[in-house]
Amino acid sequence: MAIKIDYKKELESAAKGMILIHDPRLLMKLIVRSIVQRVHIDHAGMILYDPVKDIYVLSISRGAQGSRIPEGFIRFDKTNPIIKFFCQKEYKYLVENRNALVAEDINKMIWKESVISNGNGTKELLHDVSEQMPLLNAVACVPAYYQHNLLAILLLGQRDDGNRFDQEELDFFSALASDVAMAIRNAQLFEDLKREAERNRNLFIQTTIALGSAIEAKDAYTHGHTERVTKYALAIARQMEATKIYDFPPKFFENLYIAGLLHDIGKIGVAESILCKVDKLTEEEYEIMKTHTTRGAEILSPLTGFDEVINGVKFHHERYDGKGYPTGLKGEDIPIIAAIIAVADTYDAITTDRSYRKGLSKEIAIGEIQKFSCKQFHPLPVNALVELYNKGEL
């Protein structure tokens, strides 16, 4: 005896699945499998639209051996009769009251007055459809649309008891199919958003690099400075991690990279007469020069999720003993990202030519920086720099 299925209940549990399962493919596999088991049919499958390749692929197939169709084996383009039937508006009226294309209806459709009289190939198309459906082991096809775009087709095979699908069942499958379409659509939107965010981020990093070189254009003596500081800072951080004295969070290296390239971005707001001055700066000029840290932080402040980068830019002139600028932060209160950039920045400043002197040797630079460990500099990045020097990696 056939067991009556409570379709409303089934639909509810499917809808709950949509909320719980965010991977639409997994969800559809579960739905297709449960159709085979609960409705007792030899085969159920799903043709899915691939928006990247603009094709339809038979992606899911469940059922008895010999009735299943290999998954991902067959594709359909828009000239395929079944796809054509569901994609083109002119055929919609033929299945309107059924919500599905049922094989045994096709013969009746072919002899409809409207089909015989219009002569635009509808009859031939229906013939082709009725030849395709058995190839896909389907006696009924249920389309799933999102805003008139065909996103999926649910394929239903023979019932074990040989009975035909009644309208209540077809309505149930149709409701299920449109839920599936919604789930696919949501997942695609989510993917698009993720891609968009990734693209924006890359664009931002490119812009950052361009901005970084704009600063250097103002001062010939700092040519290549930001790039080198970034390189040293990353090397120091890697060394700190390798020697297990520091465990950085996953995004740290990316943030350090961006902060390194941007650490002097605030110099954009400092007059060239001060930036490029060969003689010693007056006290007033020095005060203006110091504002590049806070100006840099201000420039970057509209960006969300850049707190750590901004910390690196704002505090890279703080000192371990609290005598730095702009805020006089002390010791461990100075964000480690800024403490690393400070050491890298000073090392590069000593070893390269300046408007007021020639560049000094690596030995002298290392000696100077070591002398000021725990005074000007955080000791951990200093140790890492010394280790890099000893390994010949500077």
Binding site: I55, P70, F73
Partner: protein, 119 residues
């Protein structure tokens, strides 16, 4: 009756292809791996072999190599997914008739296979 050998390590593919070509009046043989394929080619002398490239035990290209080494010029169509350039170069040098790319269009599969078998 024309003979067709289908070589694929996925049983759903074998079963589907068997029923698809049987309906078209073709005698179909199935092999789930390279060694079985080579044995069947020697025994049944099929008119055409549909050979999957990606198989666990022995790749389609390896099967083809053995075949040609034994100086067997049986007609072979390769069934491919996403493959390296090298795979195509090697298969070309071993005299493959053509390729069918997965996911495939059924009408094309039928056309390509019937064209070779009716030659």
């Amino acid at each position: 009756m024309a003979k067709l050998l289908i070589v694929d390590d996925e049983s759903d593919v074998r079963e589907f292809a068997r029923s698809f070509f049987k309906k078209r009046g073709i005698e179909v043989f199935l092999a789930s791996g390279g060694q079985q394929a080579l044995d069947l080619i020697a025994k049944e002398r099929p008119d055409l072999v549909l050979l999957d490239v990606r198989m666990e035990e022995m790749t389609g290209v390896d099967v083809l190599k053995y075949l040609r080494k034994a100086n067997d010029q049986t007609k072979v169509i390769m069934v491919t997914g996403v493959e390296e350039e090298e795979t195509f170069k090697e298969a070309n040098s071993l005299g493959v008739i053509s390729y069918i790319h997965k996911p495939l269009i059924l009408e094309e599969l039928e056309k390509v296979v019937l064209a070779q078998i009716n030659k």
